[in-house]
């Protein structure tokens, strides 16, 4: 399992550019296509609200067009995934038609067979969605599903990084298996510092790295008031 996770990490970490850049997003999307069997194209869209979205990058123009249709029509798997906070797996146009007739017409014209949308999120921190597309219908195979979910996590963490400097590989993996105390500490920091949850989480991780401690250890200190929150202010 660890080997697989590391190879998925490479798909995100080895992308050109820095997280947040268009060139980075396109590179990540192309790496995802290579990593995921049964997926023809991938798009990464940032979303602030259900209606406000910004395509950060896509593996090709086809995926970009499918994302753009959802923006134009205000409906689709990505829109729904962002709204509901869970992945939306659409195995066929028939199923898509049950939910989004407008989008389905456009998708059919573009030759889409199946779509799988994953929210780029960590609890209340919602950044956008990762859209996976295929020209033929069918479910996303078990292994590809698991890998897509893991890639979504890794991309979310990459986008939340405060420092752009790349560090040891393990730093990318320590956010996995989200710990309850880390989530609580994130909320406490956001409240006490008056910053967003995404910002609070990034500071927690950033300072853990600087202090050479694990995020979980630092989180416990925050909860137990063993650390002065202002020290994490910047």
């Amino acid at each position: 399992m660890e080997d697989r996770r590391r190879s998925l990490w490479h798909a995100v970490a080895d992308a050109t550019g820095s997280p947040g850049q268009h060139v980075w997003a396109r590179s990540v999307c192309r790496n995802c296509v290579r990593a995921l069997p049964g997926v023809d194209a991938v798009a990464l869209t940032l979303r602030a609200t259900e209606t406000a979205q910004d395509l950060l990058g896509a593996s090709d123009d086809w995926a970009a067009a499918l994302e753009d249709q959802q923006y134009t029509l205000g409906e689709g798997p990505g829109v729904r995934a962002f709204r509901t906070g869970g992945p939306v797996l659409v195995d066929s146009l028939e199923i898509a038609d049950q939910h989004w007739p407008g989008f389905t017409d456009a998708a059919q014209a573009l030759g889409m067979g199946a779509a799988f949308a994953f929210p780029l999120q960590l609890g209340a921190i919602a950044l956008g969605t990762l859209g996976l597309y295929r020209r033929t219908p069918g479910a996303l195979a078990g292994r590809a599903m698991a890998d897509a979910a893991a890639l979504t996590d890794l991309i979310t963490l990459a986008l939340l990084r405060k420092e752009q400097a790349h560090t040891r590989g393990e730093d990318w993996l320590d956010g996995m298996g989200s710990y309850h105390e880390v989530n609580i500490a994130t909320g406490m920091l956001a409240a006490r510092l008056g910053v967003s949850l995404g910002d609070a989480f990034a500071r927690l991780r950033g300072h853990a790295f600087l202090l050479e401690r694990t995020v979980l250890e630092l989180a416990r200190d925050v909860i137990a008031h063993r650390i002065d929150v202002d020290d994490l202010g910047e």
């Binding site: 797996l89 979910a149 996995m176």
Partner: protein
């Protein structure tokens, strides 16, 4: 039954009726239904605590419900990220019984140590199986050393099956899709609840346990699902201080 109790038959019927009710009442809040089933499980199995863990599609295992969210039960369960009685039962598809965590300390020393610190002396880990595949595990914890008997095994297996039913209420080809969607959604809901709890704790300067209590009380009194309440807290629609109004009006 291993625990003495008056009229065990009636107790079982009551508990199972509640579980069935949780399954069929047309709700959409799976997290809340699972919590109900965990608390019913405590009654049904005469246990100290019950936790429900599930195979995370991204790898490893995650907690989806616990009979007590305010105690350190969740943290105990989460020590089982790679190994422990529950991961063992999930991997093998067989029940793992540890009658005395003070005696059986070799297999999972960290889990046994923390469990004993929290006052748990025995655990029964029961696989949750769907279509021949183990998708999660039910953790049943006791505060006394316990020789698990036939009834314990059968009742816990029954509860495990009903939990699987709750997780996968869908028929046909879409069942695997729905489970995946629901699992990732549920796990994210818990992260979200953690964020909300921490935000309330930090804003009101109270402990996380107290903050969680305020959220639960408000959720119950105003009939707002925790999932929705957490969203309102974290997007700023509801200020944490409004959670304390609940107490003043009682």
């Amino acid at each position: 039954m291993s625990q003495n109790s008056p009229d065990p038959g009636a107790r079982v019927i009551d508990a199972l009726s509640e579980v069935a009710e949780a399954l069929v009442d047309g709700h959409t809040d799976t997290g809340a239904a699972l919590f109900r089933m965990a608390t019913i499980g405590v009654e049904l199995l005469s246990a100290a605590a019950v936790g429900i863990m599930i195979v995370d599609p991204r790898g490893g295992f995650g907690v989806v419900a616990a009979s007590d969210e305010r105690a350190r039960l969740v943290e105990l369960l989460q020590t089982q990220t790679e190994s422990g009685p529950c991961p063992q039962c999930i991997r093998t598809g067989e029940v793992v019984a540890v009658p005395d965590l003070a005696v059986d300390t070799e297999r999972w020393p960290e889990f046994a140590s923390i469990a004993r610190d929290l006052g748990y002396r025995a655990i029964l880990a029961v696989p949750m199986v769907l279509d021949g595949r183990t998708i999660g595990g039910l953790n049943v914890l006791y505060s006394q050393p316990t020789d698990f008997d036939q009834d314990d095994h059968r009742l816990s297996a029954l509860l495990a099956a009903l939990i699987v039913l709750e997780l996968t209420q869908e028929t046909g080809d879409q069942r695997a899709d729905r489970l995946a969607e629901r699992t990732l959604g549920l796990l994210n809901d818990r992260v979200h609840a953690g964020h909300a709890t921490g935000f309330v704790a930090g804003t009101l300067d109270v402990s996380p346990a107290r903050a969680r209590g305020l959220l639960d009380d408000y959720s119950r009194l105003h009939a707002v699902p925790l999932r929705e309440l957490a969203r309102r807290i974290t997007d700023g629609t509801l200020h944490p201080v409004e959670l304390t109004d609940t107490i003043d009006t009682e």
